[in-house]
Amino acid sequence: MEIKPKIKSIPYEEFKDNATLEKLIDDLHEGGVNVVTGSLDQLINWGRSNSLWSLTFATSCCGIEFMACGCSRYDFARFGFEVTRNSPRQADLIMCAGTITHKMAPALKRLYDEMAEPKYVIAVGGCAISGGPFKSSYHVVKGIEEIVPVDVFIPGCPPRPEAIMYGMMQLQRKVKIEKFFGGANHKQSEAERELGVSNEELVARRLGDHRREPIVVTDVPQEFVEQMKKEKEENA
């Protein structure tokens, strides 16, 4: 079963960097594809790729171009990208639009960790890719790939809305070839995959157990506790 991600109106050959995509397909489908799950995958991925919800994460200039994408002229609602979420729990991808500084880096990492799998990252603009014009600064992360895994890079300073939409389409193609059923999630790091635990768990193990303790409300009035006990006994 041949897998070739299709985007309406743009032929496959006109996209750049097809080699990377094909390599990814080969990696994912090394053991052959089951026809049943393969077809189901295609259906699920069709739905997923056409409703990519991004987290509003704009730190500087590129964010304005991202806004322009969502507005009247460019209107990326046509592709199903128009829903932006303010909570990482509800988002499919981080559109990292802008410079990430040393003070912001922990926040980016945390937002990424808070997102539910499957999740994607797009690095928009020179700063997010490599530090861009601020490469020689003492307070700028030289590319967000040092912190989180990146799926698509969109170069530019800032990239034009057309470029942002092209990048989003590349991500769509990537989503379309994924194995949703039974496929290993390629987002997990080596350590995470080996241990079979999440990133939060790894952090907790490194920092000590106190991070994992459940939140217990300690200042419950004694009367209330006794009243509850009494009610429980009566009910029993």
Binding site: T59, S60, K103, L111, P133, S137, V140
Partner: protein, 521 residues
Amino acid sequence: MKLEHLVFDFDKFASEMQNLKDKKHFDYLVTIVGEDFGAEEGLGCVYILENTDSHERCSVKMLAKVVDGESVIPTVTNIWHVADLLEREVYDFFGILFLGHPDMRRLFLRNDFKGHPFRKDWKFNDDYVLEDDKEPDYGMEYWLDKDGHLCSKQNKLFTDDDYVINIGPQHPSTHGVLRLQTVVDGETVKRVYPHLGYIHRGIEKMCESYTYPQSLALTDRLNYLSAMMHRHALVGVIEEGMGVELTDRIKYIRTIMDELQRLDSHLLYVGCCAQDMGALTAFLYSMRDREHVLNCMEETTGGRLIQNYYRIGGLQDDIDPNFVENVKALVKYLKPMIQEYVDVFGDNIITHNRFEKVGPMDLENCISYAVTGPAGRASGWKNDVRKNHPYDMYDKVEWDQIIMTGCDTMDRYTCHIQEMYQSLRIIEQLIDNIPAGDFYVKQKPIIKVPEGQWYFSVEGASGEFGVYLDSRGDKSPYRLKMRPMGLSLTGALDPMLRGQKIADLVATGAAIDFVIPDIDR
């Protein structure tokens, strides 16, 4: 303006500064520039002051005194409120302690940052960690005792009963990565502590190792909505230092471009104001029209958001052949449109209820907190740099400075709307008369600015944007300091919001018009 510094004694500094304000009416502290003057003089500050009646400016140079191994300067926070954040900035970058400042904490950098990066002997280091920053819940206060020794104590930021809400750094209504630690009592705001630096890129420090033409590229990325104006200020200060005479054509085009940029910024402001209040329609309307403005600029400059158009001695290139025609069409199109935004959003009863009497600040406080731009003019402060210190064509065209008296969020919004009409008026007067001439006055291949200190400011979209340049005759600046438009606005959020409801924080923040990369630099 070439700066001729006044110099005061260390002991008399506080009283002399008070005198400058009380007797000579220098009631607007434009900025405090921290500087490492070199091995001989050590660290110090340059204070730039303005008399708000006569618009005369002066500068005071104060060298820090070394006490017990620390550099100290008496504070001026009790004279000008804006000094609060400005002095914290200097402390952060240079490690100068301000005696009597109640809250000496770092402003931009992380608390575990080693050293003070703007000192000339600081060793470059760009390591970082992904651990959360451990923030102190107290500010330090320093003073000298009778024997001249340095004493310190901790001032608590919160009491035990305080309920603190953390807004940001990733929050949709803060327009970027601003973080506001807000103390609330029920729904009432008791105190707002701004935390900055989440997009601090160290542009000023980078400029010190760049040549002058290289440093231009960075200013566009400050407040990207005022990209032209920011570059104008930097180019202006360098040209003033070098004594470059511009042709009329350059001046005309620069003025038109600045006003187009102001339209772009104000259109986005009008849209974002509406969006923050939950009205998406008005946002789409203004973004639609903003694209037309961008088109006009793009045909000439080649950039959509960041244009990189001005350069030392003129412009990158001549205007597009269709530029005049396009701008005229734009003006014709936009004029009736502005009324439409007001109809859709500005005159809505909900908007009036959300904006009126919200985030008030009177004239006296506006000057003390240095709330420049439309926000200050909404309180009746005639602070437009285009009128007070005219540059390029602004003193040769007819236009009005918009002054309102409501002192609240509604007037700040209306002020922006009215300013769009004035921008169109300025453009209309100039567009037909662009004189022939060179668009670029040829400069030497290596640009050097003679020794001296200059300060040049322009009116950005949301306030005064100024650049201080200290040149030692080199091909790169010795110290370059930008006066951001938003820093003083952020400092003013706290007094504006005390006693207001937490929902008003969003309304006030939306209408005050700050862009965070400009504050953090």
